[in-house]
C-alpha cells in the first residue's frame, strides 16, 4: 500500500523522520509499504505542496541551507500556511511536529482536527494536543476509522501507551513514578561528578539535548507536560501542566548534591502521579532517592517510569542511551516512524 505523507513542522525531529524513512525505504517496500511526501510546512521557510510527490531530498537540502521550500510547490493555488498544506496535500498520514504550546496545545490541535476531519491518520510527537485534545481527537479518529498516535511524546521510542493498553486492557493505573526529562537528569548526573550547574547546562546545549533557552527543561515544564499527558491518557483524567505545577532544579546547589552523595543518595527530578477515587494528584519536583529506588540507577540521559496498577505487581520501562546513539531528535523521530509502521501494518492485515 502506498502512503502519501505530509509533514507539518519541519524542525530537527521532522527532518530526522524524513531521513529515517528514506533510510528504511527498501525495508518498508519489502513489507509492501511505499510512501511519498505531498506536503511540508515549515516555521520560517515557507510551505510546499505537490499531491504527486515532492522532492524530499531537495527540501532537506534547501532547509539546511536556510532557504525557502516554497518553490517546490506544484499546485494551482498558492499555499501560504500549515492548514492549507494539510487541506491540499491529499495525504494519508499527517505528522504534526509544530512547537509545543503548553498553554493551549495550539496550533497543533487545529492541525490534527483538520487532518482527521479529512480522513488522514494523525501522528504527533507534540505533547500539547495530547494534553489538550486527547478525548476529542481520539473520538474524532475513531469516528473516521483513522488513528491518532503519539507514542513518541513520552519516553522517546518506547511504546508505553500502546503496551499498557493492550497488555492490561481493564487495569486501572493507580500511580506512576519516574524520570521523564533527560536534560535535567544529565545536569544532575554531571553535578554529582562536581561540574557546576552552568557548565552542565552548556554541555547539554553543546550536544543538542537542551534548547538555546533551557528554561523549559530546567524549570520542569517539559516533565510537567509529559506527566499531564500520561495522566490524561492512561488515567483517563484530563490534566494540564499548570495543574502539575512543577518545581525545577535551578534551586539545587552543588552542596545539596554533595551532601546527598555522602549519604548514599541521589538528587533526581521525580515525576509522579496518583489516582485516589476520581481525583489525581501529580507532581514534578527534585527529590532525594536512595539505592533501593529504581530511579537511583537512571543516570545521564536514561529515563523511565514505574507503573502501579490495580491488577499486577509494579512494572517499569526504562530507556537507556547506548554509546554512539544520537538520541534526542533521532529517537523521537523513531517513535513517529514506529507509529506509522504500526498503522500501515494494522491496515495491511
Amino acid at each position: 500500500m502506498h502512503y502519501k505523507l505530509s509533514l507539518i513542522g519541519f524542525g530537527n525531529v521532522a527532518r530526522a523522520l524524513a531521513k529515517l524513512l528514506l533510510r528504511k525505504e527498501d525495508l518498508l517496500k519489502q513489507q509492501g509499504i511505499t510512501f511519498s511526501f505531498t506536503g511540508i510546512s515549515t516555521g520560517r521557510h515557507g510551505c510546499a505542496v505537490n499531491p504527486n510527490g515532492l522532492d524530499i531530498r531537495k527540501a532537506l537540502e534547501l532547509l539546511e541551507n536556510g532557504q525557502s521550500i516554497s518553490a517546490l510547490t506544484n499546485h494551482q493555488s498558492p499555499i501560504t500556511n500549515s492548514l492549507e498544506v494539510i487541506q491540499h496535500s491529499q495525504a494519508d498520514v499527517m505528522f504534526e511536529n509544530s512547537p509545543v504550546n503548553k498553554q493551549t496545545g495550539q496550533p497543533a490541535l487545529d492541525h490534527i482536527r483538520t487532518a482527521l476531519g479529512l480522513n488522514m491518520h494523525a501522528i504527533t510527537a507534540n505533547k500539547g494536543p495530547v494534553v489538550y485534545g486527547y478525548r476529542e481527537l481520539t473520538a474524532l479518529a475513531e469516528s473516521k476509522g483513522r488513528k491518532f498516535k503519539f507514542e513518541s511524546t513520552v519516553l522517546g521510542g518506547a511504546p508505553i501507551f500502546s503496551v499498557f493498553r493492550e497488555t492490561f486492557p481493564l487495569a486501572e493505573l493507580i500511580s506512576f513514578k519516574g524520570i521523564l526529562n533527560a536534560t535535567t537528569n544529565i545536569i544532575l548526573s554531571r553535578m554529582e561528578d562536581g561540574e557546576s550547574f552552568e557548565d552542565a547546562v552548556n554541555y547539554c546545549q553543546s550536544i543538542g539535548v537542551a534548547e538555546t533557552n533551557p528554561i523549559n527543561d530546567v524549570d520542569g515544564w517539559d516533565a510537567a507536560i509529559k506527566v499531564a499527558a500520561l495522566v490524561t491518557v492512561l488515567m483517563d483524567t484530563p490534566m494540564t501542566p499548570q495543574e502539575v505545577n512543577p518545581t525545577g532544579i535551578s534551586g539545587i546547589s552543588p552542596q545539596m548534591i554533595a551532601k546527598a552523595k555522602a549519604e548514599g543518595k541521589r538528587c533526581k527530578l521525580v515525576c509522579s502521579a496518583e489516582k485516589i477515587g476520581d481525583k489525581v494528584t501529580a507532581s514534578v519536583a527534585p527529590q532525594l532517592v536512595d539505592s533501593t529506588s529504581p530511579l537511583y540507577g537512571m543516570m545521564n540521559s536514561s529515563t523511565g517510569v514505574t507503573f502501579r496498577t490495580d491488577v499486577i505487581l509494579d512494572y517499569s520501562i526504562i530507556e537507556t542511551e547506548r554509546e554512539g546513539m544520537l538520541g534526542g531528535p533521532v529517537e523521537t523521530a523513531y517513535g513517529l516512524f514506529a507509529d506509522f509502521v504500526n498503522i500501515a501494518k494494522t491496515a495491511a492485515r
Binding site: 529515517l20 522517546g156 521510542g157 518506547a158 511504546p159 500502546s162 503496551v163 493492550e166 497488555t167 492490561f168 486492557p169 481493564l170 487495569a171 539505592s291 529504581p294 537511583y296 540507577g297 543516570m299 540521559s301 536514561s302 523511565g304 514505574t306 491488577v311 499486577i312 505487581l313 509494579d314 512494572y315 517499569s316 520501562i317 526504562i318 530507556e319 537507556t320 542511551e321 547506548r322 546513539m325 538520541g327 533521532v330 529517537e331 523513531y334 516512524f337 514506529a338 509502521v341 504500526n342 501494518k345 492485515r349
Partner: protein, 344 residues
C-alpha cells in the same frame, strides 16, 4: 462477539484467569465487545466438566475451594480427557495450562496440535511446546488461519512479547538480555546478603518460588527455554534447547559473590539472545554486572529484559515473573489480541 474457551489445566494460572473473567466479564463486553465464556475445564487432578452453554467462573472457583475438584459442578458432561474436551467441547479457543515439560513438551504439545488442527486458536503459558516445537505449531496455525498466543511463557504478566513485537515491527531487535528466571535471582539476591546457597534455596522452596527438584531453575534449563522462545518468536530464529550455551548458578560460591560485591559488581543469571551477521545465538550464564547496569538493581524474584535495537536506546522492561493474576492477565492480553484480529 462470543468466544468459547476450553481450559486445559486448572491450577493457579487457570484459576487466575477464571477469577479475572468472573470479575471483569461485564467490562470486557462493554469496552471491547468481547464475551469470553468458559465451556470446558479439564485438569489431571481436579477432573473435567463441560457445558457448551457456558460455565460460571465463580462456580468453578468455589468448587475448587470447597472440594478441590471441579467434577462436582453441575453440567451435561463430565469425565472427558483433554483430547476429547478439545474435540467435543465446541471451544473456539483452547487455553493450554498443563504442567511444563522442557524435554518433550508433552502433554501440552499433543493438546496444542489437536486444537490447531481442529482450527482452534490456542493461548498458552506453557514453555515446553513453545520452546521445543514452535516452528511446527506456527505452520499448522498459519495453514488453519488461527493464532498462537504465548505472552505468558516469558515474564508472565510483564508484557515482554508485546513490547518486543511493537519494537520489532519497526526497529528490528538485535539483542535481548535479561533476568528471566525469578528463582535463581532470588537465590543470588539472598546470597549477596550473606546467606549460603543451600539456605537460600530452601527459603526459595518454602516461599514456593523453587520446586522440590530445583534442577530446572538452578541449572538454567528454565531460562534456556525462555531464551529459545525469545529467539524464535521475536527474532525469527529456529533454535532448539541444545543450541543454548547454558551454565547454571550451582557453581557460584559465596566467595564469588563477595569478591564481586567488593569491586562494585553483582552476579546475575543472564539469558541472552543476539543476532549478528544474520545468525542468532543464545546463552544462559552467570554474569558479573557493574551495579550501575540497569539489570544489576533488579533484586528478588523480579524479572527484567533489555531490548537492544539499532535505532533506539536500550529499552529495559522490569516486572513480576510469576503470579496467578499476573499470568492470568497475560492470557487475557492474548485473548484480546485474537479478538482484535478476528472479531470484526
Amino acid at each position: 462477539m462470543q468466544y468459547k474457551l476450553a481450559l486445559i489445566g486448572f491450577g493457579n494460572v487457570g484459576q487466575g484467569l477464571a477469577q479475572i473473567l468472573r470479575d471483569k466479564h461485564a467490562s470486557l463486553a462493554q469496552q471491547f465487545g468481547a464475551d469470553f465464556t468458559i465451556v470446558a475445564v479439564c485438569d489431571l487432578l481436579k477432573g473435567n466438566v463441560c457445558d457448551p452453554n457456558g460455565l460460571d467462573p465463580a462456580t468453578l472457583l468455589d468448587a475448587v475451594v470447597s472440594t478441590g475438584k471441579i467434577e462436582t459442578v453441575t453440567a451435561p458432561h463430565h469425565g472427558w480427557d483433554a483430547l476429547r474436551t478439545i474435540a467435543e467441547s465446541g471451544a473456539d479457543i483452547v487455553v493450554e495450562l498443563s504442567y511444563t515439560d522442557l524435554k518433550t513438551g508433552e502433554p501440552a504439545l499433543t493438546h496444542l496440535r489437536a486444537a490447531l488442527n481442529a482450527g482452534k486458536h490456542v493461548v498458552t503459558t506453557n514453555k515446553g511446546p513453545i520452546a521445543l516445537h514452535y516452528a511446527e505449531l506456527k505452520k499448522i496455525a498459519e495453514a488453519k488461519g488461527v493464532e498462537i498466543g504465548a505472552e505468558g511463557t516469558v515474564m508472565s504478566g510483564t508484557p515482554s512479547m508485546r513490547l518486543g513485537l511493537e519494537l520489532l515491527s519497526a526497529a528490528g531487535i538485535t539483542c535481548l538480555q535479561g533476568i528471566i528466571n525469578g528463582t535463581t535471582n532470588y537465590i543470588l539476591t539472598q546470597m549477596e546478603s550473606g546467606m549460603t546457597y543451600a539456605d537460600a534455596l530452601s527459603e526459595a522452596q518454602a516461599k514456593g518460588y523453587a520446586e522440590a527438584d530445583p534442577t530446572g531453575d538452578v541449572e538454567g534449563y528454565d531460562a534456556a527455554g525462555k531464551a529459545v522462545i525469545l529467539a524464535n518468536l521475536l527474532m525469527g530464529a529456529e533454535l532448539s534447547m541444545n543450541d543454548v550455551d547454558r551454565v547454571g548458578i550451582t557453581g557460584l560460591t559465596p566467595q564469588d559473590i563477595t569478591s564481586a560485591a567488593a569491586s562494585g559488581e553483582r552476579w546475575k543469571l543472564i539469558g541472552k539472545v543476539e543476532k549478528a551477521n544474520g545468525q542468532v545465538t543464545a546463552s544462559v550464564r552467570p554474569t558479573r554486572l557493574p551495579i550501575t547496569h540497569p539489570l544489576a538493581s533488579v533484586g528478588g524474584a523480579t524479572n527484567a529484559l533489555t531490548f537492544t535495537t539499532d535505532l533506539l536506546g536500550d529499552v529495559t522492561l522490569i516486572g513480576p515473573g510469576a503470579g496467578r493474576l499476573e499470568t492470568g492477565y497475560a492470557i487475557l492480553g492474548d485473548l484480546l489480541a485474537i479478538h482484535r484480529r478476528f472479531g470484526k
